[in-house]
């Protein structure tokens, strides 16, 4: 399969208190159109990932709102929701609309405005990505679920507290070179280990922040892409898988099956394997998430992710640089936008436009997870 990314756009990630929900989506969309050097009238459809406009900003019917505020009526506009994987699925829906022959040029974006409510409500809203009746009802928080996976991983494979901290340290170091990142500053292992406890063993600096932000990519069919650019980045593989919504129902608490299954599909469609991937954006909502991610994607063996992080293979300059953007941890995690923002980063990497964080890569991958693993979506990218 081959679908081109001909333009990418982001907003600054952070506490965007001066901007509204619809405003940030429009800003990212305009940036993407400018980057593609096309006009809104060239678009045929809108796909928008959003987890919880209803709980965060009292706004449902996000699809209609976005089309209207973007001045794109009467284009068909569709909202896609899968918790933190909403953006990745919006991208996939856009891809499928092109591969089906239904459309030739579409925008796939994601948006979340998380700082308009207080922290307790944000925590509750994120926890609705778990099973509401049998996890959330009993006091389960999202950091709590990942903390339980972390403790199991530590017990089963000997992963250390320090190794998890190294994920945050690396991603913060990468974010220094990303002008869109929420936290573009360095931290140390000691900073992580001395930050306030959120859900033992995970501390504040193991957790991605609460973020406002939006991201958009312009997708085009292979045939039409050549009208707009000589050097598109192609999406060559796409995979999506579902896993148990509850962590307690999973076969193994230290393995995310949906990541394994989604990546297998993406690799198969692309004719690639994990060894071919040269740069990746991996879902590090929590530090342990990146370790589980690089294992599930096949970059390292199951259980070897902590040691691999310590050995530096995921650093820029390492065998497989992971989260050059700063990742969810330091770039920020506006949940509905994240999956699309990952695609933006890999596009910049393959175009050679990632500046201070540039890697030498022709093939990249994105990995976006909803909930504790109820949904995973993986895409592969190749330089045109």
């Amino acid at each position: 399969m081959k679908v081109a990314i001909i333009g990418v756009g982001l907003t600054k990630f952070g506490e965007l208190w001066d901007s509204s929900f619809s405003q940030i989506f429009v800003e990212a969309g305009i940036n993407a159109l400018k980057d593609a050097n096309i006009e809104g009238k060239d678009l045929e459809a809108i796909f928008v990932g959003n987890m919880s406009g209803g709980r965060f900003v009292d706004q449902e019917h996000v699809s209609g709102l976005i089309a209207d505020h973007a001045g794109l009526n009467p284009l068909p506009s569709t909202r896609i929701e899968a918790a933190c994987a909403s953006g990745g699925l919006a991208l996939r829906q856009g891809i499928m609309s092109i591969l089906s022959g239904f459309h030739d040029v579409v925008v796939a974006g994601g948006v979340e405005k998380m700082t308009d409510v207080l922290t307790g409500q944000t925590t509750h809203t994120l926890a609705t990505a778990a099973d509401s009746e049998w996890e959330t009802f009993l006091g389960t928080t999202f950091p709590g679920l990942y903390a339980m996976m972390a403790r199991k991983h530590m017990e089963e494979f000997g992963t250390t507290r320090e190794q998890m901290a190294m994920v945050a340290v690396k991603n913060h170091a990468n974010a220094r070179h990303n002008p869109y990142a929420q936290y573009p500053f360095e931290i140390t292992v000691d900073d992580v280990l001395n930050s306030p406890m959120v859900a033992d063993p995970l501390r504040l600096l193991d957790c991605s922040p609460i973020t406002d932000g939006a991201a958009c990519v312009i997708l085009a069919s292979e045939k039409r892409a050549k009208e707009f650019t000589d050097s598109p980045v192609y999406i060559t593989g796409s995979g999506q898988a579902s896993g148990t919504i509850s962590l307690h129902s999973r076969k193994r608490l230290s393995v995310v099956d949906s990541t394994i299954n989604a990546s297998r599909e993406a690799y198969k469609r692309a004719g690639l394997g994990p060894k071919d991937i040269q740069v990746a954006e991996v879902h590090d909502a929590f530090t342990i998430g990146e370790i589980l991610g690089i294992e599930g994607l096949g970059f390292v063996e199951i259980g070897a992710g902590g040691k691999a992080t310590e050995d530096g293979i995921t650093q820029i300059g390492g065998k497989i640089p992971v989260n050059t953007s700063g990742g969810l941890k330091a770039k920020g995690h506006p949940v509905g936008a994240t999956g699309v923002a990952q695609a933006v980063e890999i596009t910049l990497q393959l175009r050679g436009e990632a500046k201070g964080r540039q890697t030498d890569a022709d093939i990249g991958l994105t990995h976006n997870v909803g909930g504790s693993g109820g949904t995973a979506v993986v895409h592969t990218y190749e330089k045109g």
Partner: protein
């Protein structure tokens, strides 16, 4: 956010008495209860099955940053308990010092208050687990 009574009332059987389901076809036991056996699908023959309420902690965390409704309980232990009948569940661990909680610890169920649905809403009860 206030919710209507049936949302909680329909789960009382399981939350108060740990009633799960057993598929008479494949003998698998489920908790939380299922409406459909994922293995047997249309051949499912689900019946109520009461769990004994004993198990071992497979993993746990201590929640320090709660969501709305749990502020008064922090820090509290949340665990995944594996029951000898087969299924696991997510539960709070109570009646012990946090430092005592370990992976592999034997626990048993108790009936406790879980949370309140706002100031004027329902008080929810259900299972928590304590050292056995």
């Amino acid at each position: 956010m206030g919710s209507n009574i049936p949302r909680f009332w329909r789960n009382l059987k399981s939350r108060y008495n740990l009633i799960g389901t057993k598929c008479a076809n494949c003998k698998e036991i489920h908790f939380p209860p299922r409406h459909f056996c994922p293995k047997c699908r249309r051949l499912s023959k689900l019946e109520d099955f009461k769990l004994e309420g004993r198990g071992k902690i497979e993993t746990y965390t201590v929640i320090h940053t709660p969501m709305d409704g749990f502020e008064g309980q922090i820090p509290y232990v949340l665990a995944i308990v594996k029951m000898p009948e087969g299924p696991r569940l997510t539960t709070q661990i109570v009646d012990c010092e946090i430092e005592e909680v370990k992976i592999g610890m034997k626990v048993k169920s108790v009936f406790r208050k879980i949370q309140e649905d706002g100031e004027a809403g329902l008080i929810h009860y259900g299972y928590k687990f304590k050292p056995a």
